[in-house]
Amino acid sequence: MSTAIESKETRNYLNAGYDLKSWLLTLDHKRIGLLYLFSISFFFLLGGLFAVGIRLELLTPPGDLFQSETYNKLFTMHGIIMVFFFLIPSIPAVIGNFLIPIMIGARDLAFPRLNLLSWYVFMVGGTLAISAALMGGIDTGWTFYTPYSSTYSNSNVMVTAVGVFITGFSSILTGLNFLVSIHRMRAPGMTWFRLPLFIWAHYATSLIMVLGTPVVAVTILLVGVERMFRIGIFDPALGGDPVLFQHLFWFYSHPAVYIMILPALGVMSEIISTFTRREVFGYKFVAFSSVAIAVLGFLVWGHHMFVSSQSVYASLVFSIITYLVGVPSAIKVFNWLATIYKGSVSFGTPMIYAFGFIGLFTVGGLTGLFLAAMGLDVHVHDTYFVVAHFHYIMVGGAIMGYLGAIHFWWPKMFGRMYPEVPAKTAAWLVFVGFNFTFFPQFLLGYLGMPRRYHQYPEEFQIFNVMSSIGASVLALGYALPVFYLVWSLKKGEIAGANPWGGTGLEWKTPSPPPTENFEETPVVTEPAYSYHKEEFELVKS
């Protein structure tokens, strides 16, 4: 069997052309996915370097390494690069781009040119953000709160804002392309309830990209206009209301959290079902919970504004709806646990990430409920408790999901297996390092250490040192895959079409797939995750 696959490897999307033009002008969704992979890996490194600066400064209580202005720029650029240029495009633009057409049995996305355009748009936005950093950085915090950003800050707000504005359109185009493709490009027999849950998750994600991103785009535009022409849309000195900025900003930026986490939730369903050899328990509940999270996610933004002079009555409503988001999130976690229960579990690297994800996502989600409580939020607002909470979701959730996905589909993308031992080591380093970095921050926050300061009282040092040590371990865990994954490109074991014994369409085409994805258009006759009993028994014995 493996020889048959090897001979087919003579023609695939990777060897379809070697010159630069065949990459930079490609319309193949798989190649565009790889273009994103390289670009966002670079942004991840950049955002990580800013984090190194933050953790070094916080090793000691006095502000001795950086001046406060420099420190402000470090955490701002860490946030902007990580959120807009790494987390939001991460799983959708890399893994989603690569897999969505294959999983639904299509030859490509509905609009391949638009897909390539969105990568170029992303790169233009990213270049502007980097040039802003080179010109001296920006110090507003990733949230661009007015009137500081629109009137008082002397840093490079304009260039960064334009960069984020432009990148937003890349996200819109990607979401639009995914939605149309999932609606119109499914293979014969691929009904809505036969779609892999990864697709449902990306459908929900794309809805948020299309419906939310334009609002933040126009908001940033207004900030830019206000800064340039000195008019007062958000400036209280000129009659504007800065809280309106917060409404508009969080209308997108709360759902944006789900742009980061929903694709990871989809990845988890794929990994867990494959590594337990079972159908995902309660398929329809998990599918609809993705859509429910996307919809409810638009109705809760005011929980960021409990102490921003938002009316208490509005806060009350936002608080209650925020609790409701816990329901679909919990449905997912419980259904995964029910899938694992009595499943035939094997502990490959992706599954280690999946277990880590379930734990960290649960902690992140539950602490989110703390923050949704209006009373408690007053105590922990703008403290390290908040920082720890959203890093549990964004790093513990989204990045664990991203790494899990990279390992899970690496054999599909490049036709080679990664080496299992270093991969498992890295997964454990990430899990341990992550918890060492961010768990102490819950304690710090609860004890009252505010975020965004470069110095702190001495009694907080022990937790900050733990956090910085944990961050070094985490960095090691992130660096390791770069080496063994690159190594595996040439030296890894040949993967074959279906190394994990998965049931999705992506496993029914050679690895790496041919440019047209399938030799002939597949016809789907079964629901997703049809792991048969015989096979189940076979694997068990």
Partner: protein, 98 residues
């Protein structure tokens, strides 16, 4: 799943929609010269929504389109209402210059 049953709308219908759009425009201008208090805004918005609906249903063919297209249009405006309603929920219940 096809939008491609090209429904050809008769020219007569287009002209009718066009005429009503013009009539409604002049009506809304005329009413604006009368002081109706808060009702000025309500009437103006009611007329604007009616005009928009006419454009969407006939000029943009949504009346003859698939359920998916209708869902798209409805969804878009629903989300706009989310933005308006939840933002205004704050402003009308807080003491800010009102």
């Amino acid at each position: 799943m096809s939008d491609t049953t090209h429904h050809v709308v008769p020219v007569r219908v287009y002209l009718l929609v066009f005429a009503s759009l013009l009539v409604l425009t002049y009506l809304t201008v005329a009413i604006s010269y009368v002081d109706l208090g808060v009702f000025n805004a309500l009437v103006a918005m009611a007329i604007a929504v009616t005009k928009a609906m006419a454009v969407i249903l006939w000029f943009m063919h949504v009346k003859y389109s698939t359920r998916l297209t209708k869902l798209c249009v409805g969804g878009g405006f629903l989300w706009l209402m989310f933005l308006f309603a939840l933002t205004m929920m704050d402003y009308i219940s807080r003491n800010w210059k009102f």
